[in-house]
Symmetry: C2
Amino acid sequence: MDDTKPEQVKSIADLARIGGVSVSTVSRALTGKGALNKGTRERIQALADRHGFKLNVAAQNLRLGRTGAIAVLLPLGHERGQHLSDPFFMAMLGFLADALTDRGYDLLLSRVLPQGDDWLDTFIRTGRTDGVIIIGQSNQSAVLDRTAAHYAPMVIWGEQSSRNAHVTVGTDNQAGGALAAQHLVARGRRRLAFFGNVAVPEFAARYQGFVAALPADLRDTVELVHTHITPEASLEVATAWFAAGNRPDGLFAASDVVAMSLLSAATDHGLSVPGDLSIIGFDDIPMARLANPPLTTVAQDIEGGARQLVDLLFRRLAGEDAGSISIAPRLVIRESS
Amino acid sequence: MDDTKPEQVKSIADLARIGGVSVSTVSRALTGKGALNKGTRERIQALADRHGFKLNVAAQNLRLGRTGAIAVLLPLGHERGQHLSDPFFMAMLGFLADALTDRGYDLLLSRVLPQGDDWLDTFIRTGRTDGVIIIGQSNQSAVLDRTAAHYAPMVIWGEQSSRNAHVTVGTDNQAGGALAAQHLVARGRRRLAFFGNVAVPEFAARYQGFVAALPADLRDTVELVHTHITPEASLEVATAWFAAGNRPDGLFAASDVVAMSLLSAATDHGLSVPGDLSIIGFDDIPMARLANPPLTTVAQDIEGGARQLVDLLFRRLAGEDAGSISIAPRLVIRESS
DNA sequence: CTGTTAGCGCCTTCAC
DNA sequence: GTGAAGGCGCTAACAG
């Protein structure tokens, strides 16, 4: 056809000049919005392709008063190492990335070390993203509540509570704890303990649900062992605990990673699982089935959760006053119990 | 002092009006750039704080001709499930987020299903980010090379090769394979196999390094077992392989996740580790020490790697023609060998 | 159907 | 030391 040499085209103005049309025509051709003669549209599109030109998304978004990005924040309130290693978050993040991509949004990832009480407002006011997804309340419930009061497009993965002013999506952790309790009791286990960090709302709920579902005589004897849920910390705590002579017959861990630490420590101390004791985890990370023996666990629907988070966020972004969502957990029985 | 009611301040123009100064003064006060009377600067900053005003980062970046964001792309060329579950990526991502945050940049996360051969150029031309970090070549080396020819701010975590036109940071996978070989040989193991997907450059190099470091008589008998490196796929392959009657005494896995599958499958078939056979993984994910028995593995320096990736990217962003970096692996001997 | 124009919110020369 | 004005690249009335 014609033989325009691919010169540097940096903006629609350049392309407009080369194509002998106005910038609005180029804009209409490339966005597909607005009425435009089919021939012109195709000619401009072809011209853009030939020059390897794409609309600048940043400028486009500025003009549209949006950013085209959603922030995913991992607050490291007290579990500094958790997010680095826990497969649960990787899975969640992957599904979130998919769900946001499907809607044409970018995912802005940020790990935050909460400082003072306005790290969240400060982040939001810089206008970097159109909405915020926060993974876990950590110890920041008060900050979340304060921001939720004036900022709608924010959803939190975590524990739902009537005390929360912020909107959450999350597993019914109490129900999950109850599933674990019922299972251990059904197996005839009576010397029980829970391992986790109850300063984290999700874990506290798992513990409460666990205790509440126990028969009255066991409720008073169940031990609460505090541990951060990183592999390193939980292995250390578990090893020390067994070394101190504790001989339980039923353990419920706040996460699969902690459960794997318990498994490892128990084996090291010559105990057989599930012969001498049962161990139950929480999450059902892909690796739970690779544990030795494969881990019985309370499964969270990570993919479904991610989808619900994104759905809810976009409903709120659209002005709808959509509320919290609770997801039922499911007991997956393998060989560790 | 004064009692201005916090009205809605959406731009520096609003603040300029309220403060009785020009927009340029506000800009100078809030960015700290340019000369300005100290008193004015402090007055405007106080005014901004009182109104909870922050500069709009998107507009600022548009004006400065940058985006303030770096893309981290996970190409899912043939390991669709890998990135969802492999703790290695979570760790890498966490460290990248930290390193980028330290430099005042955002991390734009994107999982891409490579389509055709210009998904990368298309992404770059939309101008969403100032640079690109790609985790793994996947099967896209040709695409990466083509883009690298005209786009400097791009670094790849993966396998370095003289055939690569793109710049990489990565573990010396051949050396890692050699470490595994030497260790198994030193343990007197002779019936060897490698488990992994050699269509992935990194894994191919691990396999080659492994074979090359073997004594001549073993080199011909080592078996290459193909498996994707997801927990699900590798467990299935390992189980079938043992069920077919294979009785090796030394296994080298392309990743720790695969090694844990091998451990699980071997135990299921009544084999003892390390009694009957030795198993070595690759990565040294935090959970490797929680395996039962704890996993011997070739450790990658994930944190150092992430830092090098970011350093290299910013050097190239500054116009420097900085080249690829190779990181030495380290054998971590635990109880699985 | 297409072009002109006025911004989105900010930074930065150039004057004063 | 501070203000006015132009423009980063794009979109959307409003005209014609």
